[in-house]
Subunit: 446 residues, 2 copies
């Protein structure tokens, strides 16, 4: 099981910058209220908790078909439809495209240069395309789907229809309509499950299976984590405690930037996945915490200076890996150079773990709060634990802030303005608004 | 030339959240002081300004040798020694390893799993290794260098000596000593030039040439930018104005998170490069600005909600690209589905640019300050402009904060503790400190 070491958040260790045991214990009542909302499934979006108990034969079948019939797997999606799959891909199979098939391309933007590149080296004759959008109306995903639909038909004719797998709402939306009209393969994101809580739905599980990972391992990890988080008592519930500590650091210490620092290259996309769920769920009504995606040891040479001596507005969350699964010994070369030879005989694992521990301690000595999630090994089982840990924690923390952790009203205005500019019916006024604004903005340019 | 549109920072557009023209003009005196420090080269570290006028035949020769004799180029470095090269690689040659040779691997960590992977598919017989460390004592880089030194000698024997290119101080340090002892190829980072200001030294230029980019284009871009930034008058100097606006947003509006959002996949590493120079230069003495690496349109589905409705602590900096160099038309498919068909006939460029403009406007309407750097095209010339723009701006902003923008005293403690744990002579007490701390931390784990 993953563990949470929160010693460096406590006043016992870091003095007045830390929290006291009694503050946490006194918070149990508030925590119980938030827990009740989760337990009673107060909101339909808590359906993400049911994903843990799903059966996956359909996902496995489609993945088998993809693996046996194609050499490139192109995923079209953005936000929650891409970040979870990428976190799985990189954690389980780093450098995947240099060594394994089907190669995986995740296109989560509308950058024309990127898509041109992908089309230039993914032979469409041997490509399958997974289009992911819960609502079925995401503009970015729709645009790339339309392009691929056209291109695949040019190359494959009628066979193209058997190369699209649509992951969307079981009944509603543009994508479901297209699935029905063209008899496409499809997978369903259960009603209620919001994009950023969907990694353990077919959104993430299909990719997992395509790269040869048993999706049940991810689900088993998530279930085991859930079982560890059923009690409202904060000091026995790591997901709730994690959210509570960050909530209290915001409220009591004005620290509202939460930096996630995994000490493993392959967990950087997990950090970016966390940044979506934390930011979009909690950032509203002028409240919220700003999650920051980082990477150790790399960012010790980029961000550590700021963490150590910059404004007192951050909490550091390290992810320590106990076993990297492989190791390399630093050989006894350059013996005459004392500035280097101390490294000889150690392994890279020893060095990376020493740096992680040293960074924790250096921060604690500077009275800068930090905590550590300890992961025994990077595999599907522990990744499932991490996903569920953060998802449950996010929902719980949203309830502490008394906001809705499942909506994102702030993104609507930008969408409407885009619709206006792209000529969507009913958004004519929005277009005019953009054009009026352009004229005003000419003055302040250098 | 790149341009800076700062309209949405001004009170004329965003009301009380913005800055007034008079505030900026009144600031000219303070700006002149900072400018004088730069002009008089008050600090030796301002030597980065001289890089713009260097000759590059040596770099070109070594790059030619690498291109002609090897198929893999492995760069070992961390922080400033890796972020600049990666920003160049991704901007100029995205998906490089899937289509061009020599393939490039940048190893900027001590994750054993990553290095195992690289060693498994980079045939060392056809590999050259560029080791980059200004000081010559960076532990992470030293560790990977020692491993590669040993492995390359096993595979190549004496020929291995001709496959290492060391980029370091011209005279001092462990790496220079090794260059001299083993007669290795080397390039010099001029004295005074600090790691995070070194991208336009051989640190970044060698990689540029290895991937077939004329390093003089990068330098020419930087020189042209410098010429645009010689006057202290803020409204005529984009680099100074950029720093001033962010400084004033911190001081006057308590906005101290600066989010950089390029609307191009290939500029994401530039955003990470910026985050190092901005964080490590300015984050000290409990002051500083927190730079945040982002990406459009992708993060509209991850961070935009927080930017629009979260705490009022951010300034958004967009990078708009005028010409992506290639484009793709969205075809007229799914005509019967009104929710999608509005996209038909537009191009991906139109969509990504519309989204960028829509996001700016949506934020401005919500009175959230933002500005836009407009880049005509992504190429070496404009990349050189961007590097110099940010470097000059960082030094200038450091002087506004009255701190030293060239040191990083906060990282020393972590290094010392690591040395202690790795058994480096003279750091025995640090090891004891770590061990003592471990015992204390056992209580707060769940």
């Amino acid at each position: 099981m993953i563990e949470l070491n929160f010693s460096n958040m406590m006043d016992e260790i870091i003095g007045r910058s830390g929290l006291s045991e009694s503050t946490i214990k006194d918070f149990n009542k508030t925590a119980e209220n938030a827990h009740a909302k989760i337990k009673k499934r107060l909101r339909p979006e808590l359906a993400f908790l049911d994903l843990l108990y799903q059966d996956t034969p359909e996902i496995k079948n489609i993945a088998k078909y993809i693996r046996e019939n194609t050499e490139n797997f192109l995923l079209l999606g953005i936000g929650g439809s891409a970040l979870g799959p990428r976190a799985i891909l990189e954690a389980i199979s780093p450098f995947h495209n240099l060594q394994r098939k089907p190669r995986v391309f995740i296109y989560d933007n509308v950058d024309p240069r990127t898509l041109k590149n992908i089309l230039s080296f993914a032979d469409l004759k041997t490509t399958s395309v997974n289009v992911i959008s819960k609502s079925g109306s995401t503009a970015e995903t729709a645009a790339s789907f339309m392009i691929l639909w056209d291109e695949m038909k040019k190359v494959l004719g009628g066979e193209a229809f058997r190369r699209f797998i649509i992951t969307t709402d079981p009944e509603k939306g543009n994508l479901r309509r297209i699935v029905n009209e063209h008899c496409l393969m499809s997978l369903s994101i259960p009603p209620g499950v919001v994009g950023r809580y969907s990694v353990l739905s077919p959104v993430g599980l299909l990719l997992a299976e395509v790269i040869g990972t048993d999706s049940n391992e991810l689900l088993k990890g998530a279930r085991d984590m859930h079982e560890k988080c059923t009690e409202p008592d904060l000091l026995k519930n790591p997901a709730y405690l994690f959210g509570t500590l960050l909530y209290l650091m915001d409220k009591e210490k004005k620290r509202n930037i939460d930096v996630l620092v995994p000490y493993a290259d392959s967990l950087k996309p997990l950090s970016e996945w966390f940044c979506q769920i934390w930011a979009e769920s909690l950032g509203k009504e002028d409240k919220g915490l700003t999650p920051y995606p980082s990477l150790g040891t790399t960012d010790q040479h980029s961000q550590l200076q700021l963490w150590m001596e910059g404004p007192e507005d951050k909490v550091l969350i390290f992810i320590r890996v106990r076993d990297y699964g492989s190791d390399i010994k630093i050989p006894g070369v350059f013996k005459e150079v004392e500035g280097l030879s101390y490294l000889s005989g150690h392994t890279l694992s020893e060095l990376i773990m020493a740096e992680e521990e040293a960074t924790e301690l250096a921060l604690a000595k500077a009275k800068r709060p930090n905590m550590t999630i300890i992961v025994p090994e990077i595999n599907a089982y522990h990744l499932g634990q991490l996903f569920h840990f953060f998802e449950l924690s996010t929902a719980f923390t949203g309830f502490l802030y008394e906001i809705n952790p499942f909506n994102q009203p702030g993104v609507e205005e930008g969408k409407s303005l885009t619709y206006g500019m792209m000529g969507k019916k009913g958004y004519e006024e929005k277009r005019k608004e953009v054009e009026a604004q352009r004229a005003k903005r000419d003055r302040w340019v250098i």
